[in-house]
Amino acid sequence: MKATINSLVLLLLIMTVVSCRKDFLDKAPDDDLTIEQVFANRDYASNFLTNVYAQMPQEAIWPDNAQNPYHGAADELKQYYPISFCNSMTSGAWDANSTVINPWARNFGGLRKANIFIENIDKVPLDQLYTQAARSRQKGEAIFLRAFFHFLMVRVYGPIPIADSTLTLDADFKALRRQPLEKCVNYIVSQCDQAAALLPARITEGTEYGRVPRSAALALKARVLLYMASPLFNGNPDYTGFKDNEGNRLFPDYQASRWQVAADAAKSCIDQTEAAGYGLYTAANNDPVRNYQELFYVNNNKEVLFAYNEGNYDGLDVYSEPLSLSGFSLNAPTQDIVDQYEMANGLRPITGYTADHSPIINPLSGYTETGFTDVAGPNNLYVAGTSNMYVNREPRFYASINYSGAVWKTRTGGLEFWFKGADGKGVAGGGNYSATGYMLKKLSDPNFVWRPVEKTTLRTWIFFRLGEQYLNYAEALNEAQGPVPDVYKYINLIRARSGLPGLPAGLSKEEMRERVHHERQIELAFESQRYFDNHRWKMSETIDNGNIYGLSIFLGQSKTDPAFFKRVPVERRVFQKKHYLWPMLKTETDKNPNLVQNPGW
């Protein structure tokens, strides 16, 4: 009986335990924040802003389908990495179902974040550490980023829906329509103006590098207006009939005045930034090769208007490192861009190609395709025995391209890209090797070591630099007014920095246009510019359509084996009219049929 009583007590006890805790399931997280709480605290709010920054594209990451397919998709580079999206783009093998890189998602996601910040930042209480000035500056940063995210989409999709505020979940999403291109561009410009008024003229505090300065807003405004004035956007006859499903035209008619607007914006950017202390970068010893080479790895130099802090990201270096230094050898400049670099005397070595793609050599330039030099290059740029193709080229060539014979880091005996060379296909393990016989040198930091023990350096990716604005201004001004002195002035400043003579006087507007295009191709090579320049000039159908060339990487037994130094097609590229604008993903247009797809997709 005692046991019975005991067990009764036990059971009653259990029942009591079971029934007394009514809140057993009330266990939702209580340490989490709401949006309201985030914007009640200045630190939390600035943490939120950090995440808006994180939404910018990491353009330093080229392969692996990250966010920058624009080099491999242009005529300047062959990225021998088959799964990279740029290879689908250049072969024309992509459609609304297969745009692996999706600026649409990244930027609209970023826009929601920027809009939340802009809509809520005024709620953060001010105090001694968080003044109205600090709040305005943060707001300016978010407004710039909002403009930038729009721009990153406009440059690939053309007209887009404008995301100037956040949408609640019960909104009518089908009401989201693509806005006429000019409206999109005007919106970006207005945001740049707003941001510029709130941002500091230049970053002065060391802890603030990487934040948005006023120069970023000025530069973005100038660039987007240059795009708007360019043939792709400005009265493009191909898009006259491109309307949304309510009959609204999405592309405007041509207006010549857009060039002047663009020129004014670029000039304003140049003037304001130079007044704030920006200027073209030159190396300490003013060596023309170093002037140009260092610009891209000396972080936050005075030419950089806005750059992305990449931290210790090593991809810029590793993917460009030749095989003998254990690099992945993915970033291979094409023969096409190598041929474009001028001679040291400022003359073009090659003026065109015959039907069988033999180069038409400019006899005045001093360039020769055959033979090998007996002497090493100046400043130990290349070793004796190097092909004459690489002798006496302009300084930007030596700062940008690694070629057979070039001295690079510990490879004092010169790089060897021929088949049996130390950097050639013959020693490659698997699919990693230079597809063209060249490797990219520009952007790489000579202090970086990959193997056997990695020594990284801090990297930045330059979104905007003053040099580009010189060329933007020159281009727009030439289009608006013809080759007036300012056009010469700014192009020659760029050329002078790299030790090149100025442009010949008396060029016609058309000749000057060709010169500007060429100058941009060389000066802005591998800076995510060439792809968009070819597009906006509507020249991709000729430039990015057809073969690109490299050297005969499957041949060559020695340094002086001429079999290697022969142009061969590396890839046949496809560019159709529809490729000027990217398709929106089918999944997106399925969700919202009011988003009319771009022509041809």
């Binding site: 931290g311 210790n312 499957f554």
Partner: protein
């Protein structure tokens, strides 16, 4: 003859036997009580030794009965007689003092119709022959006998009856009995519950041994089935429940139970995709699956507590049940929708201690290691790829020759990486020692087990530590039941699992990836100077280096499972048939990982320089053996309180259950605060059953429970179900000659699934305070303010999935149970499936990872399952059986909130979950003319060449693009699974064979090694399957199965399409076993109760369409292979 002993306590029993020595006639009820009675009698006998052989009596005209009682009291002798005859006895007057017993007895029995006989300390009173008998009539005699079962184990408590008389006896704990036999024509019936009643004619024999055989049919009547929170008699089960005999499961020697159950019982679909020790568990689905994002795995309860099924030792298992329909699972409420698996471990039984030892050792052989091409063939393929796109040859003839003749094996190697890296055979051993026994108040089951499985990686003898994978598991389980009082029982169960394993520095995934990466010609196993070879680029190591030179990892898993239960029978206190039960369980799991990883220095051998000295280029630097650690721990506690009611009122039988429970699971090593919040669940379960005359069955089940994962006010759900059954064969009109049993069942109800996928607490909008995407500020790029982002937009209405299930079933038994057949058909509609809202465009600012979830999805699932069993034992003792079962389940998405696709064939509604989506291949392009005539495929690839895959233009627009993709084939998890096999046994030999198979499934043979040169010529390894069957320029390609090769990734050929889709059906000889039980008499002499030795094999043969990889593989690439085993073992019972 039957006995009823009216007793309330042992004291009374003592009186009855020793005092009265009287056994009253009347209806027997409990065998158990008899056993107890006899047990006490034995005790008394032994303690009676001190009694006197002399008697002092003073009786006047006393009944014989009274006198005998007195004698018994004084002498300690037990009388054994039939009290009925005492009615006509003469009364006795007797006056004796210290008179010898024998004399007193003679006095007492003189003139009585009885005589007596003394046997040991028992006095057997026998009737004298009738007066009218012949003068020479034989007196009756006592037969001494013993009753055993078919295994010669004694049976205490068997009832012996002399037919035609009221005489009888019950066997004692030694299975012995004494019974009075009247004459040689008397026959005895011997009965014991669960055994067939035997009638024997002992003739004149004085001793006899009777062997009883199990009454399988009758056993079935009393068979119980484990159901949710209880047991039910099998005859009265109305839900869809299937069970499997554990002996069948044991035939597959495997460390993971989930690998042994596929195809063994109806309702289960399994797929095992890896054979890696410790990671080889199969995915298990009950009746397929019906949810898109939610968890598809069933609820698995071990001894009523949520536990992992794969570290329970098979030898510890008593029963394995699968609950399939709403009726069976509704009591689990929000946890029941995916079906429930109930596993109960063995418990103690009354009887002397039985020790059993089982040991088995298996040789494991890797099944289907992928076959890759040799260096020469690889070289030819490289050149072919180049030629196909008009490029120069990749290798010269000279180099090809070197690959072929291996004249320069360091520069032109041909290494078979599979055989270099992997062993063909390895070993596994499983050992278990168990002890079971107990008495009426205390019963125990204990088992200790040791399992060792070795992996298939070869080791480098120069490496000082073990790199091969291996898993050691120690199991311990002790289940104890104690009757504290006659109404109060306690059960204490403890289980411990210790699993220690060793792995190479790289994961199996990485090693097999390197095997797919590394062609035979990539590098030698070692460089001429013994250094580790590598090349620049991604081919920086060989698979052999990855598996042997990158360190090792040790994993330690400790799992403690404990529970304490109390059952209180309130029959006498409150009402007959009512009991209460409380259960508390606590489980703890701890995982530790010590990783010692290493990077070897690597060099590329470049041949000899001009002076004949070997040249090397350093590739990677060495990193010394590093140390890393990781851990994982969780604990779960469970509390349950229930009231059970079960009582018969005439032909009505009523049962009831009311149960409350609560579970808390805490991830102690969660990476974030949300993960650390306990997972909690509590609720009620109830069941009411009604059974009229074992003919009409009614059942109602209800679960009411909730979880912390849902918003307040929406936490609890009620899930009712009802079932009816009609045992047609119990109707009077039914003739049971052929169809001995027929039952029709039907059920309908609702069950929930709270494992809905997605993050926890979906009702809350959350801010991720440590967002993955970050940004660094400052010149030194070190200054980071932290980064916050919206991590999810909450849905205040989020709730569980609801499954509405209907089931009809028939249980059929033919020829007295020789054939049994069960078939169930089911239909399920799963609604409220949690999915991310599919119609919110990205341009609204909601990228995929913050779009809220909503309970929008609907899926229908229907199918059938069934089983057939035929078994018989012939008169000569030959036993044979055949079993077969199948499970078929097909689901269809009704609603998934996807945007309506303009092309009907791209609509995911109406498709099965996970059905493949892609292009329909219609062959390979024959020639340029074929390409020109066909719809343009340049959207897929700029240049289409002969030998490329030709696709079907589904929308007829002349262009192949995304609009031509559609759904086809079957999902990877099969829709149909089946198993069949049989057993024969004769004398000591038994043989079993079992096949399993699956159908209605497809596998895609694709990936790096089928998609030749995915990253360019000379990039990855190439499977022979592709090489031998590819389209070759200029060859006869009528039988070509795969497209031609080009020098880089073919964007036309390497997309999901039907060309690579293979029929995934298979039939597998899952297990076969031969056993021999040694002669028992012989064994007994050496103190062993029985020995059975066996040889069995698992995964012995397969018939399928894939041939290249395991057809249960996730995709067509080589992964850690399944193992086939030949297992030798023995079980010894002491």
């Amino acid at each position: 003859m039957n006995f009823t002993i009216h007793r309330k306590d042992p004291l009374r029993l003592y009186k009855l036997i020793a005092g009265n020595c009287l056994i009253n006639h009347s209806k027997v009820s409990r065998v158990m009580k008899l056993t107890a009675l006899l047990l006490t009698a034995i005790c008394l006998q032994s303690s009676a030794i001190g009694y006197s052989q002399q008697v002092t009596l003073s009786e006047k005209n006393a009944p014989l009965k009274k006198v005998l009682q007195q004698i018994s009291k004084q002498s300690g002798y037990t009388f054994f007689y039939d009290a009925r005859y005492f009615n006509d006895t003469r009364r006795i007057s007797l006056e004796v003092t210290n008179t010898p017993l024998e004399k007193v007895l003679t006095e007492c029995f003189s003139g009585q119709p009885f005589t007596y006989e003394v046997l040991d300390r028992t006095i057997i009173v026998k009737r004298r022959p009738e007066k009218n008998d012949n003068s020479g009539a034989v007196l009756s005699w006592v037969l001494s006998g013993k009753v055993t079962n078919e295994k010669d184990e004694v049976l205490p408590g068997a009832t012996i009856k002399v037919l035609g008389t009221s005489k009888g006896a019950v066997t004692d704990v030694f299975g012995k009995f004494l019974v009075e036999i009247g004459n040689e024509n008397d026959s005895l019936s011997v009965t014991f519950i669960g055994y067939k009643t035997q009638v024997i004619h002992p003739g004149a024999a004085k001793t006899i041994t009777i062997k009883l055989f199990p009454d399988l049919e009758n056993q079935k009547l009393n068979d119980v089935v484990i159901v949710g929170f209880g047991k039910q008699k099998k005859v009265s089960v109305t839900g869809a429940v299937s069970t499997v005999k554990i002996s069948e499961v044991q035939q597959s020697a495997t460390a993971s139970l989930s690998n042994a159950i596929g195809g063994r019982l109806p309702g289960i679909i399994t797929r095992q995709s890896s054979g890696e020790p410790g990671y080889d568990a199969a995915s298990v689905f009950i009746r397929g699956f019906s949810t898109i994002n939610g968890s598809r795995t069933p609820l698995i309860l071990v001894d009523g507590i949520e536990r992992d099924m794969n570290n329970i030792n098979v030898q510890e298992i008593e029963s394995f049940s699968v609950l399939k329909d709403a009726s069976a699972t509704a009591v689990y409420g929000i946890r029941g929708a995916n079906g429930v698996i109930l596993i109960n471990t063995k418990r103690g039984v009354e009887g002397r201690p039985k020790v059993s030892f089982r040991t088995e050792t298996a040789r494991l052989t890797a099944l289907r290691l992928p076959e890759y091409i040799n260096s020469y063939e690889y070289g030819l393929l490289c050149n072919e790829a180049m030629a196909n796109v008009g490029k120069p040859a990749f290798f010269t003839q000279e180099e090809l020759q070197k690959f072929k003749d291996q004249s320069d094996p360091y520069l032109y190697p041909d290494v078979d990486w599979i055989n270099t890296t992997l062993k063909k055979n390895t070993y596994q051993t499983i050992n278990n020692l168990s002890l079971v026994g107990g008495n009426q108040t205390f019963r125990y089951f204990t088992n200790v087990g040791f399992t060792l499985v070795d992996g298939i990686y070869r080791e480098d003898p120069t490496v000082p530590y073990k790199t091969n994978s291996s898993m050691k598991r120690y199991n311990f389980r002790s289940n104890v039941d104690v009757n504290i009082t006659k109404n109060l029982k306690m059960d204490l169960s403890l289980g411990g699992i210790i699993q220690n394993s060793n792995y190479p520095g790289a994961s199996a995934g990485a090693i097999f990836e390197y095997l797919r990466w590394t062609p035979n010609n990539a590098f030698p196993v070692k460089n001429p100077n013994g250094s580790v070879p590598a090349k620049n680029g991604f081919l920086n190591r060989s698979p052999y280096v990855v598996s042997t030179q990158t360190g090792y990892e040790k994993q330690f898993r400790n799992n403690i499972q404990s529970s304490l239960g109390t059952t209180w029978d309130l029959s006498s206190l409150v009402t007959q048939g009512l009991s209460l039960r409380g259960l508390f369980a606590y489980d703890f799991y701890n995982f530790m990982r010590n990783t010692r990883s290493k990077v070897p220095a690597t060099f590329q051998y470049l041949g000899k320089d001009a002076n004949g000295v070997d040249k090397y280029q350093p590739i990677g630097g060495e990193q010394a053996l590093s140390y890393g650690t990781g851990y994982d721990a969780n604990r779960a506690s469970y509390l349950e309180l229930s009231a059970n009611y079960d009582r018969a009122f005439g032909k009505h039988r009523v049962g009831g259950l009311l149960l409350g429970n609560r579970r808390e699971y805490v991830n102690l090593s969660a990476g974030n605060s949300i993960g650390n919040i306990p997972f909690r669940r509590q609720g009620l379960a109830s069941r009411v059953t009604y059974d009229y005359d074992s003919r009409y069955l009614l059942e109602f089940n209800g679960g009411y429970n909730g979880s912390e994962n849902f918003p307040k006010g929406k936490r609890y759900g009620f899930f009712p179900s009802g079932a009816v059954g009609w045992v047609v064969s119990n109707e009077d009109f039914w003739s049971r000659n052929v169809v001995s049993s027929l039952k029709l069942r039907g059920s309908y109800g609702k069950v929930g699934n709270d494992q809905i996928g997605g993050d926890r607490f979906l009702f809350q909008s959350t801010i991720n305070k440590n967002a993955p995407a970050s940004y660094l500020f400052g010149e030194n790029q070190t200054y980071q303010t932290g980064t916050f982002q919206e991590s999810l937009i909450g849905n205040p209405n989020v709730t569980w999935e609801v499954a509405t299930k209907a089931n009809v079933g028939v249980d059929l038994e033919l020829l007295n149970g020789k054939i049994t057949l069960t078939v169930d058909a089911f239909k399920e509609r799963r609604s409220g499936i949690l999915i991310r809202r599919g119609q919110i465009p990205i341009s609204a600012g909601y990228p995929g990872d913050i779009i809220p979830y909503a309970n929008l999805g609907v899926v229908n699932n229907k199918g059938m399952d069934g089983s057939l069993e035929i078994k018989n034992r012939t008169k000569s003792g030959f036993y044979y059986s055949f079993q077969a079962n199948f499970t078929y389940a097909h689901n269809i998405i009704i609603e998934d909130d996807s945007p309506l696709r303009p092309l009907a064939y791209q609509n995911s509604r109406g498709q099965s979950i996970d059905r493949p989506y892609g292009y329909e291949a219609i062959g390979l392009f024959k020639d340029q003319e074929d390409i020109d005539k066909s719809p343009s495929q340049t959207t897929l690839q700029a240049i289409i060449r002969p030998g490329d895959i030709k696709y079907k233009d589904l929308n007829g627009d002349g262009v192949i693009n995304a609009n031509d993709q559609t759904y086809f084939g079957f999902p990877r998890n099969p829709e149909l699974m089946f198993g069949f096999g049989g057993t024969v046994a004769w004398k000591g030999i038994d043989m079993s064979i079992f096949f399993t198979g699956a159908a209605r499934t497809n596998l895609f043979l694709q990936g790096r090694s089928t998609f030749a040169f995915l990253d360019g010529v000379d990039s990855y390894n190439v499977m022979r399957e592709y090489y031998d069957n590819r389209w070759k320029p200029g060859a006869d390609n009528t039988n070509a199965k795969y497209p031609s090769v080009i020098d880089l990734k073919s964007t036309n050929n390497y997309i999901t399409n039907t060309l690579y889709m293979k029929n995934g059906n298979y039939l597998r000889l899952k297990s076969a076993e031969i056993g021999y039980s040694f002669n028992q008499a012989l064994m007994k002499r050496i103190g062993i109760a029985s020995i059975r030795a066996f040889v069995n094999g698992t995964n012995l043969a397969i018939w399928d369409h894939i041939k290249v990889v395991n057809p249960e593989n996730d995709n067509g690439e080589g992964t850690y292979p399944l193992q086939s085993s030949i297992n030798i073992g023995a079980q010894v019972n002491f």
